[in-house]
Amino acid sequence: MKKFKILAVFMLCASLAIAQQTPAPKQSKDIAIMGATAHIGNGDVIDNSLIIFKDGKLTTVADATVVKVDMTGLEVINAQGKHVYPGIIVPNTTLGLVEIDAVRATDDDSELGDWNPHIRSLIAYNAESQVVESMRPNGVLLGQVTPRGGVISGTSSIVQFDAWNWEDSAVKIDDGIHLNWPRTFTRGRWWLGEDPGLKINDKYEDQVTEIHNYFDQSKAYANGDQAVKNLPFKATVGIFDGSKKLYIHVEDEKGITDAINFSKANGIQHMVIVGGYEADKVADKLKQNNIAVLLQRVHSRPEREDDDYDQPYKLAKLLVDKGVTVALQVSGQMERMNARNLPFYAGTTVAHGLTKEQALQLITLNPAKILGIDDAYGSLTQGKSATLFISEGDALDMRTNQVTHAFIDGRLVSLETHQTELWQRYLEKVKSEK
């Protein structure tokens, strides 16, 4: 019996030991990727490319048939017939804030209260999350970690997905504040005997006024000497001086219109629509005001019975055609584990009208621009971070998305995960028992 116990303890330790992949060290050797089809992220493609990066930065991204480079001292990866992409960025995600939905102790995505601009996602971000590590084998390498709940959920930060801790993972700290715009329709409370269906939210105007009032107060605070400590107001100052973005989560046409007017009235420089199920109806207005959209999940059901079956699939195309800057996101049910499917969401927009390079832009350069990290991320551009991955085939299609290498800031990151280890162990077991 005792023996069993010891064995059990041993096994537990062993399983803990393999639960985490070790973050990669700094790039020490210069690396060249030869011969791959390079998908730049800005719409361009180089069929036979040469990509070189040093100290985590891209130094050469060029047509291999044109440039002459001295390759001595370079570690060369032959990627003939393969594809290189910029690291995929997942905006508006709760990755690292929740490990297992149903286990409350692992849930850190939603704080008590309605007005939480001071609540910061970064410090709760679990860099060792098993869900986070499962992003890398699909090419998803960066994310905007975003709190949920309330009217103002809190402040997001942007992280990369291979780090020892949240501090090391940070790419951009406290990039923006997230505001949930009131809904035009609310659900009846069936447990009180009300019809559970959606009915007009008759408090909508009041709720909008409340937001106006809150921003008036915040602005007044920002304009003052800020001597008195008020954590929430203090956190909003950046929205008014342009150092933080305001992400307004809103789906419907009227809400989006009201949100645009609200931002203009408050002189907010950087506003982004998150969700935007009906954004196509106000595309011209979004374009005019240069407002970008972090578009709701491509793989979702149409909201209304009468909607086109492919409405969520084709929405990106409708917006892109109107000149709106669009990036894809994943929020919704099972959003964390689904974030690794972001490349396939982009693939679906191709089936419904976009070109593959346009679609790639929605998960690379566009989110980088919208989140304000395009100086370093989002495309394979000289001078930018070497955050990229190599796939055997077209990464937007699950048939061919086979990632062989992924680099974050030039560091070759592990593609092993809790899941791949279980796979290898049990595949061996099955094979040995056959």
């Binding site: 869900v131 269906g197 009915k199 793989h299 099972m334 499917n341 699950m398 048939r399």
Partner: protein, 991 residues
């Protein structure tokens, strides 16, 4: 005439209480009154089809003595002349809660659900209360009676509107004068039933409609068994149910779908319910007709939506708009199809709304004769009381209406409602119609006066020298009082007139001037052509009735005007994924004929075939989803830890838009599984997605029998507040299975022995598993429980057919292979609860490697739209071959469902359930271009485009109609947003 009338009133008040002649009397002498009352010169509707133009109705002791054109009037008769008026039988409402207090809701259930009954001596389920009696709770409600009398009702059948079996109703006359001894026509008039639980108990079973259906079935079996004296204990509910067996059984359906469900339950036990309808029966009238059930029809027609706000209106669904447009035509459609129905005021906020809605039904084409039948003879006959109520034949109760004319005309006044010979005056029928245009002169000036409106709200417009005078007018007891301003408008002075009517409709009286002068007043009435006026209003009405838009199948957006037909189709030059030994055939033709795959080969031709150029496209077998929860009205019967008695086949939803959307994703067949709330769940429905067909026609013919089992966190209720139900651990789950299978085995042995036994639907179903007649698809996650269930099955000598979800299948894949069980799993879901912590996307590949039959399923209406791509993920995760990967969502689920002899591959002779893809079927870039089931095209990209335009147009038209309705001053209701809840394994009904 007035004198007669007053006498009649006096006579009424002095009439004795005949029914209580054996009661002691201490307030005077005992009197008897043997006088008759006759209403003469009336147009009498003895029945809806028997009308006497100028007849006499003779009544005595609250009953009709005679009605006819020449009735001999005895000498001791009080005669009331009602010339020019009409007499109808009073209406009957057979679905009412009149005078029966609504039971109070039991306060909340606390920390854990209540599984056991709160009573003893009764049936094990609190919601079954056949012993309840409305008569015992009955108390005459004069206020409500007044509203009902005003609406024309004379008799109502009231019951306690609570619970699944609700006990007996009470048939009551709305007799305001006498007591219950006279009013109550039948104290046990009918037995009432429903699918809704009682508010007086928190007992959790049944938590779904399918549970209610199962409960009723078992109840009928138990009642029969009890009646035969097999029970050792007393059950007051079963005794009452058996006692009520001979009564009319009235069922609260409340919707087209529930009417069909109720009828299905009744039919199995030889009971033909009379069913309360929902108002949407016109959507599938053929099926409603086929039930042969008489219906009780509410006429609570929806108000138009307030479409002023364009943003909000954009959220309104076509089906909600159609409901507004089409529902008023429901009574007409039922009548046209010879469905027997009675009308009810049930569902209306108040009986006051009854007439307006009835008028609406008539303006939408319900004939007046049918309307009258539905309010009189039909309910009387359904209640078995044709000889007592519903007509004015000899011997019937003297329940009748006196009206100014056709009772179904807007302008008609309902003067009196007599019930059991007791008169209720609603409008004074002797009041004269003083409205009209008059001329008079006073002190040398001539005036024109126009009187308008109801007698009680009369309005006057008086002009002199083409100048309008301010005026006030009232009419009371045949006296008209008028006050008008004098000629000098700067002064606040009035001329007062008081006058009454003369025989020739003139007004005669006096006028008092401000200075005190008094003049005689005489005004003559202008004669008008009545005919012209009435025909004018008829014309207006026909303009008012909006165009009813046609019903589609199903009657929602993307529904079809006609069901798609089987065609002969020839696909030319496709890449054909046969799923057979032939593998993937390039540049190949496939011929579909008579709903089957007819030929596969090169250069095929068929003169009768429609040729489809499939160059560059892929043809595969239709996608099959082993685990779906679309197209069902409920998913879980969570009220008990075993619910083998329920079946999803009972609760199919044939208008779920997700069916259409799944077709657009190439899905042709699905298994709708019961949820995972219980270790032993309910029976499955295996259906084809024949969008437009009715629920029953979706189900596979000779469908293999399946039941859902479940393991893990859901069945032990780990993730919500529940601590009172066994099992709470995986240890308990095993014992629960062993216990049930032991009992099923004993039960089955007894059943086969020929000895008497109590039939138990639940154990019947479990015995089918033991007898290898029913397959288990078991929701499962971790390896311990998967292994356990295989061992339990081994012990009882049967095999588990499928583990569904089976996310740790890869850990026990070789054991699964050995047991012979298939694995139907998610492609890449994990980490949403603790038991899926070790779920890996390589699961399918490893199980496949071990030789297990693997399927990829959805459990999700969104994912099922791209199940082909989910299968594509197994190529990525684990390197499954593309051919095998496609089988994961076609042939393999067909095998697991035992329908692979019919579907799952492109093979000559199999059902022509195929999908034409625009691209490689595992690719993210592929779209289903055509989805075909048995040779009929249920989804077509091009047709879809066309339907979008049509939907847009129809919505605009309906919005226009609603704006017109609002402009006409009709009531409107706020916009609501229709939403189909996304159902998963753990979804519960909200009831």
């Amino acid at each position: 005439m007035i004198k007669n009338y007053v006498t009649a009133l006096l006579f009424m008040c002095s009439m004795s209480l005949l029914a209580q002649d054996y009661f002691p009397k201490n307030d005077g002498v005992v009197t008897t009154n043997t006088n008759y009352t006759a209403l003469t010169n009336a147009k009498i509707y003895v029945t809806p089809s028997q009308v006497i133009e100028k007849g006499t109705l003779l009544i005595k002791d609250g009953k009709v003595v005679a009605s006819g054109a020449s009735v001999t009037i005895p000498k001791n008769t009080n005669i009331i002349d009602v010339s020019g008026k009409s007499i109808y039988p009073s209406f009957i409402d057979m679905y009412s809660d009149f005078g029966v207090e609504k039971p109070k809701r039991q306060p909340g259930g606390g920390r854990s659900a209540q599984y056991d009954a709160s009573r003893t001596g009764y049936y094990w389920n609190d919601h079954v209360m056949p012993e309840n009696s409305a008569t015992e709770k009955f108390s005459y409600d004069s206020k409500k009676a007044k509203d009902l009398l005003n609406a024309g009702f004379g008799v109502v059948n009231a019951h306690i509107q609570d619970g699944i079996v609700r006990g007996t109703g009470v048939l009551v006359a709305l007799n305001a004068e006498d007591g219950n001894e006279t009013r109550i026509i039948d104290p046990n008039s009918a037995q009432y039933l429903s699918f809704s639980k009682s508010v007086t108990s928190n007992q959790s079973y049944p938590s779904s409609i399918m549970g209610s259906m199962a409960l009723l079935r078992q109840l009928y079996i138990d009642a029969d068994w009890y009646a035969k004296g097999n029970s050792k204990t007393r059950d007051l509910s079963l005794e009452a149910l058996n006692k009520n067996k001979s009564l009319i059984q009235i069922f609260e359906g409340g919707s087209r779908a529930n009417v069909l469900r109720a009828d299905k339950v009744g039919d199995a036990y030889g009971i033909q319910y009379v069913i309360l309808a929902g108002g949407d029966e016109y959507e599938r009238i053929g099926e409603i007709k086929a039930t042969n059930a008489a219906l009780i029809l509410p006429i609570n027609f929806p108000d138009a939506y307030d479409v002023d706000n364009a943003f909000l209106t954009a959220q309104l669904s076509l089906s909600d708009m159609r409901a507004w447009n089409q529902k008023p035509s429901n009574p007409k459609v039922l009548a046209d199809n010879n469905v027997v129905f009675a009308l009810t005021a049930h569902d209306l906020k108040s009986a006051k709304e009854f007439k307006a809605n009835l008028m609406k039904a008539i303006s939408y084409g319900l004939s007046k004769e049918k309307a009258l039948e539905a309010l009189t003879t039909v309910p009387a006959q359904l209640l078995g009381k044709s000889n007592m109520i519903g007509t004015l034949k000899n011997g019937s109760y003297a329940n009748f209406l006196i009206t100014s004319g056709d009772v179904f005309e807007e302008k008609t006044t309902l003067y009196e409602n007599w019930v059991q010979g007791r008169q209720t005056v609603l409008e004074d029928m002797n009041i004269k119609d003083v409205t009209g245009d008059y001329n008079f002169s006073l002190a040398g000036e001539s005036y024109k006066m126009s009187l308008k409106g109801e007698p009680s709200k009369l309005k006057a417009e008086i002009t002199s020298d083409e100048k309008t005078r301010g005026s006030k007018v009232s009419y009371d007891g045949d006296w008209l009082n008028i006050a008008m301003t004098s000629k000098d408008s700067t002064k606040q002075e009035f001329i007062r007139i008081v006058a009454n009517t003369t025989q020739d409709n003139s007004l005669n009286g006096k006028a008092l001037f401000p200075n005190g002068d008094e003049f005689s007043f005489f005004a003559t009435k202008e004669v008008k052509d009545d005919e012209a006026k009435s025909s004018g209003s008829d014309q207006k009405k026909s303009e008012d009735a909006p165009t009813v838009v046609p019903v589609t199948f199903p009657n929602v957006a993307y529904g079809m005007p006609e069901l798609p037909k089987q065609e002969t189709l020839l696909f030319k030059n496709a890449t054909v994924w046969t799923n057979e030994a032939d593998g993937i055939l390039e540049n190949t033709d496939v011929l579909i004929k008579n709903g089957k795959i007819a030929k596969i080969g090169k250069n095929l031709s068929d003169g009768s075939a429609t040729v489809i150029d499939a160059t560059g496209k892929h043809l595969t077998a239709g996608v099959i989803d082993e685990h779906s929860h679309i197209a069902a009205a409920s998913i879980n019967e969570g009220g008990q830890n075993s619910s083998a008695e329920v079946s999803i086949e009972d609760v199919l939803d044939d208008e779920d838009i997700d069916v259409y959307r799944n077709l657009a994703g190439g899905v042709t067949s699905i298994q709708i599984l019961h949820g995972s709330a219980n270790p032993i769940g309910g029976r499955s429905a295996i259906i084809k997605l024949k969008w437009g067909e009715s629920a029953n026609n979706l189900i596979y013919k000779n469908s293999p029998k399946f039941i859902k089992f479940a393991l893990g966190e859901n069945v032990k209720q780990s993730n919500w507040q529940s601590f009172s139900r066994f099992p709470q651990t995986r240890m308990g789950v095993e014992q629960l299975f062993i216990d049930y299978f032991n009992r099923a085995k004993e039960y089955d042995a007894l059943k086969k022995s020929g000895k008497p036994y109590r039939r138990d639907i639940e154990l019947d179903v479990l015995a089918e598993i033991l007898n290898k007649e029913r397959y288990i698809s078991c929701h499962s996650y971790v390896q311990s429980e998967i292994n356990m269930l295989m061992k339990v099955a081994d012990k009882f000598n049967f095999n588990i057919n499928t583990f569904t979800h089976i996310l740790e299948g890869y850990k026990v894949a070789t054991k699964m292979k050995e047991h012979g069980v298939g694995g139907s799993t998610f492609s890449d879901w994990w980490s949403y609860k603790y038991e899926v912590k070790d779920a890996i996307p390589f699961n399918a590949a490893i199980m496949h490697e071990a030789g297990v039959t693997v399927a990829i399923n959805s459990d999700d209406a969104e994912m099922s739209r791209r199940l082909n791509q989910e299968a594509g993920k197994t190529v990525k995760y684990g390197g499954v071959s593309e051919e095998d990967a496609l089988k994961f969502v076609t042939l393999n689920p067909a095998k697991l469902l035992h329908i692979d002899d019919r579907v799952g591959s492109i093979k000559v002779g199999k059902d022509a359930d195929v999908v034409l893809w625009t691209d490689h079927p595992l690719s993210i870039y592929a779209k289903a271009e055509k989805t075909i089931i048995e040779g009929a095209t249920y989804f077509d990209l091009k047709k879809d485009e066309m339907m979008r335009t049509k939907i847009q147009k129809e919505k605009s038209d309906l919005i226009n109609q609603m704006m017109q309705a609002k402009n006409k001053g009709l009531k409107t209701q706020p916009i609501k947003k229709k939403e189909k809840e996304l159902l998963h394994c753990d979804s519960m009904d909200h009831n």
